[in-house]
Amino acid sequence: MHMADALISPAVGGAMWAATAGLTVYSARKLKEEMDERKIPLMGVMGALIFAAQMINFTIPGTGSSGHLGGGLLLAILLGPPAAFLTMASILTIQALFFADGGLLALGCNIFNMGFFPCFIAFPFIYKKIASSGEGAKRILAAALAASIIGLQLGAFGVVIETVFSKISELPLGTFLLVMQPIHLAIGIVEGVVTASLIGFISSTRPEVLEAAAGPARGKPFSIKPVLIALILVAAFTGGVLSWFASSNPEGLEWSIARICGNKELKSPESGVHALLSRIQEKMAFLPDYDFRKEKPEGLAKSESAQGKENAWPSMRTGTSVSGLLGGAMSLVLAGLIGFGIKIFQGRKSGRRDG
């Protein structure tokens, strides 16, 4: 499930970007320590393979609906966590760029949800623990099922938290969780079964492929604790900086991390950018009555404060918002005209060039 730019706030996007950037640097460093340069092309083609595999749908038995492979766990089993994480990151980047699946700012969220959880949590702490304690197809199945279910549950939880913290969607935490977690339970089961059957297939035909992956990494043994601590610090720091920026500059960027933290107080319109704004606007003859937000700022914090007390609705908003919409439509037309202008200009230029 890809998070999208349109559903997140810049603070959430920024914090997740920072966390993901940290993980990427960490993974790249780990990979360098491993000094296994064979992995460089292997990661790339495995990424392409997962990418191709994701485009083939299969029928989920008993349901008639179809699913596709996520691949995070499979990659972790075949490549080890750092390489798998980087590979997932590159798959998701290609999807963001070429299919607009997600988006650039939401990329941090997506890499975290679909890369970090399966590669750095589900694989080392669940799959490996279960699979290494014995032999046999059943055990592999159990390990893959448990790991992919938990990985996907965490991923889905990530989506929910990021969405709810962004406050763009109206979905309340509880409802959203109730929708997302069961869906991802089903997806997790399918993913686990497919992953287990692929691993089974490989270990019966070419076991050395798995051995090469599990082979003694030359790097230091992997430990998650420092990574987690660093992640939390980075994310908290970025979130904090962004929210400070937002709250000290609320009119410019009411980026509402302030609201997330429960700080609903809005600044007096007579200070800062807003004051400057209204002064400029007063001077502009054609817009003397710019005042809708100034008078009823609580409209902005509506979702929290105004629910249930409809009579508090400012009648002022109506007119101004209609004009806002009108303005939106006009800007669209204007943008179209500008585009048209550029096109004509270009046409003339190239015409001149050709002639």
Partner: protein
């Protein structure tokens, strides 16, 4: 993501667009990436009850598309099919938030509908900006840009390899599914066991391929380090591109341009 054939068609199409030559294609990729990131941050920072506010930002992706000769219809089509997730989440807004917010004559519009519209505006803006970016830059330029902005090479090289072999493996996978479809006489999707053995075979072939690629790299002096992309200099025009657009985005964020327009119009009428 659609069927496998159409997906590869998409990538191929964007790749072809990116190999054109135009003033926006020539802008240094680093600055294009930065400008687009700033654009997206600005676009999604608009209030959730302000669907009109970000509309003027459309001028950025539109300019890229026009100067970069990227067909509108193509981007529009992709906008229509991409990301059902956004739509399904956004659709909850009008359901959950029915407080009237705006009266258009006799019709009252709920807050949920307004915020739904706002999500859709942001969606159109962010998606078209990303597609325009890739269509006028190309993945390998983006990769070398990222590498020179300090992104770890382990990642950017991955991206290059992945992108290169998507076409090879995609072709293999498409061939397999086509053969399968021919024999299954229009039956929907694959059963899971067929899927697993198909992907399993593909996977083993892929592992072997990786080995051969590694060998081909070794034969040409590969030592663990991939040196790629000629260093390009940032020119004045590149800086102007960045500065100009970022200034415009900031202005559009600080000043509610559509509101002025609307009011002006309202007074005229």
């Amino acid at each position: 993501m659609g069927s496998i054939d159409s997906s590869f068609f998409d990538i191929g199409r964007l790749d072809a667009l990116s190999s054109k030559d135009s003033p926006v294609h020539r802008i240094d990729p680093r600055l294009k990436v930065l400008t687009t990131l700033y654009f997206i941050a600005i676009a999604i920072s608009f209030d959730k009850y302000d669907p009109a506010g970000p509309v003027p930002l459309l001028v950025y992706p539109m300019t890229l598309m026009i100067i970069g000769e990227i067909p509108f219809s193509y981007i529009a089509k992709k906008l229509l099919i991409a990301s059902p997730f956004v739509l399904s989440v956004a659709l909850f807004n009008p359901i959950l938030d029915r407080c009237p917010m705006l009266n258009l004559g006799p019709i009252s519009v709920s807050g949920g509908l307004v915020s739904f519209a706002s999500i859709m505006t942001k969606y159109v803006l962010t998606v078209s900006a990303v597609l325009a970016l890739i269509a006028c830059t190309g993945l390998d330029s983006i990769c070398s840009a990222l590498a020179r902005m300090g992104v770890p090479k382990a990642f950017t090289i991955q991206l290059l390899f992945l992108y290169r072999y998507i076409f090879v493996l995609g072709e293999e996978a498409a061939r397999m599914t086509r053969a399968r479809a021919l024999r299954s006489f229009g039956g929907k999707g694959l059963g899971m066991s067929v899927y697993s053995s198909m992907i399993g075979h593909l996977l083993l072939r892929t592992v072997d391929r990786a080995q051969r690629i590694h060998l081909a790299m070794l034969c040409r002096g590969f030592d663990g380090e991939i040196r790629h992309g000629e260093p390009s200099k940032i020119r004045l025009s590149d800086l102007l591109f960045l500065a100009g657009w970022c200034a415009l985005f900031t202005l559009l964020r600080l000043y509610d341009f559509p509101a002025w327009l609307g009011k002006g119009l309202g007074r005229l009428l």
